[in-house]
């Protein structure tokens, strides 16, 4: 690492969370700064510089596509090993997430929902590798995904129920007229709350997990006696295991809620 001897281990650990420093422009020894110099030449009104979170995003997308592509190329009826694992996960997304919540029309959303699930899952999991970074623990990433979901809901709803029908169907029909004055603002807020909760839930869960591990390891550093030091380290190890579980569960929650929201836009009567 490019740190002088004087930097304390605590500072080094905290730096792992910061994407604004020079340190974030290294990914397992690969220096991203030359690439960023190149990207800076592009005439764009906003910053598109690459840091380790971005590299993990690329890897997550690559892994998601690569594994699904690989599993789809499999020959023979009996799947084994990695192919079997990918097929099982994909089958789960297909039946339990997409078909259960969106019906048969959900088929065309399978790339989107499946992409979300695997992309978030691998972002979460890759972030668990020490020295890597969870892009999903950053609100910018989760909010972007949530906004994409938000637009998907609106577009699918307007296609299915008509440009006016979708907004009209926000509130259930058959209520006294004066109630709609309350209902429409309420339903509109509820519509906005959907992507907001998606974004915050994912980002907060991932970040919280990392912060807990960080705190526990900090305790280990701060503990004076070597007799006490193993205790927080052991706790951090347990937390690590739990984070693997969280990685799966959060990807699942994001995907199934998206399927549910878009499914509701397809079948407003439910």
């Amino acid at each position: 690492m490019s740190h002088p001897e004087s930097v304390s281990p605590m500072t080094q650990m905290f730096e792992e969370f910061d994407l604004t420093t020079e340190h974030a422009q290294h990914f397992f020894g690969i220096d991203l700064r030359p690439l960023n110099k190149l990207l800076a030449q592009l005439p764009l009104p906003f910053d598109i510089s690459v840091n380790k979170a971005v590299v993990v995003l690329w890897l997550a997308a690559l892994l998601s596509f690569g594994l699904i592509f690989y599993a789809g190329r499999g020959r023979g009826l009996v799947a084994k090993g990695l192919r079997n694992a990918i097929e099982a996960l994909f089958q789960f997304v297909k039946t339990d997430i997409v078909e259960d919540n969106m019906g048969h029309e959900g088929r065309k959303w399978l790339p989107f929902i499946g992409g979300l699930f695997f992309f978030i899952l691998f972002s979460n999991l890759l972030g668990l590798i020490p020295g890597s970074f969870s892009p999903t623990s950053n609100i910018n990433v989760t909010a972007t995904l949530a906004i994409l979901v938000f637009f998907s809901i609106i577009i699918q709803g307007m296609i299915k129920q008509g440009g006016f029908g979708f907004w009209k169907n926000l509130a259930p029909s058959g209520l006294p007229a004066w109630l709609y004055i309350i209902m429409y603002p309420l339903e509109f807020v509820s519509l906005l709350a959907k992507p907001f909760s998606l974004a915050v839930r994912l980002f907060a869960n991932l970040l919280a997990g990392h912060i807990v591990i960080l705190s526990l390891l900090s305790l280990g550093i701060l503990a004076g006696s070597w007799l006490v030091k193993p205790v927080p380290v052991f706790a951090a190890t347990v937390m690590y295991g739990f984070e693997i579980f969280v990685a799966f569960i959060q990807a699942y929650i994001f995907a199934i809620l998206t399927a549910l929201y878009i499914g509701t836009a397809i079948h407003p009567e439910h």
Binding site: I68, A71, Q91
Partner: protein, 162 residues
């Protein structure tokens, strides 16, 4: 930590957008086909097994029916045979009885005839003997025809006594 980072937003859209595009074009279709092919295959196998089971059950039932039929038929044959034997026995016995009766009657007839014959012979003999005896006693030859009457009456008396 919570700040607008346009590079993350940009790269999220690019990575995820490309991922969804590629999945839609090349990734999801083949995998869904693989999964559905397997599902279909499994369903067909189960259906086939079910079909085979039903067929086997049907055959078993058929065989059992046939077996029962054959058993009933055998039973019938045995009963018929028994009846036939019984009839035959009765017939033979009746015939034998008849024959025995006939034989007895014949024998009785023969005996009667024999007795009659014997009586006739005896009669002649006794007649002759009495004539000879009388001749010897009275030393005079009796006229055979004149004394036939006498002998007859005597003999009938003897017959009654016996």
């Amino acid at each position: 930590m919570i700040a607008l980072q346009s590079n993350l937003i940009f790269w999220t859209i690019v990575s995820f957008g490309l991922l969804v595009l590629l999945l839609g074009k090349f990734g999801v279709g083949p995998l869904v086909q693989v999964l559905e092919a397997r599902e279909r295959r499994i369903r067909e196998s189960i259906e086939q097994a079910e079909h085979a089971r039903l067929e086997a059950e049907r055959l078993l039932k058929e065989y059992e029916e046939k077996l029962a039929e054959a058993r009933a038929e055998a039973q019938k044959f045995i009963a018929e045979g028994k009846q036939l034997g019984e009839n035959l026995r009765a017939e033979i016995k009746a015939k034998a009885d008849e024959e025995v009766k006939l034989m007895i009657a014949k024998a009785e007839d023969q005996i009667n005839r024999d007795v009659e014959q014997a009586i006739k012979e005896l009669r002649t003999e006794v007649g002759d003997l009495s004539v000879t005896l009388a001749a010897k006693v009275i030393e005079k030859e009796l006229d055979k025809a004149a004394h036939e009457q006498l002998i007859e009456s005597y003999l009938s008396e003897v017959g009654r006594l016996s």
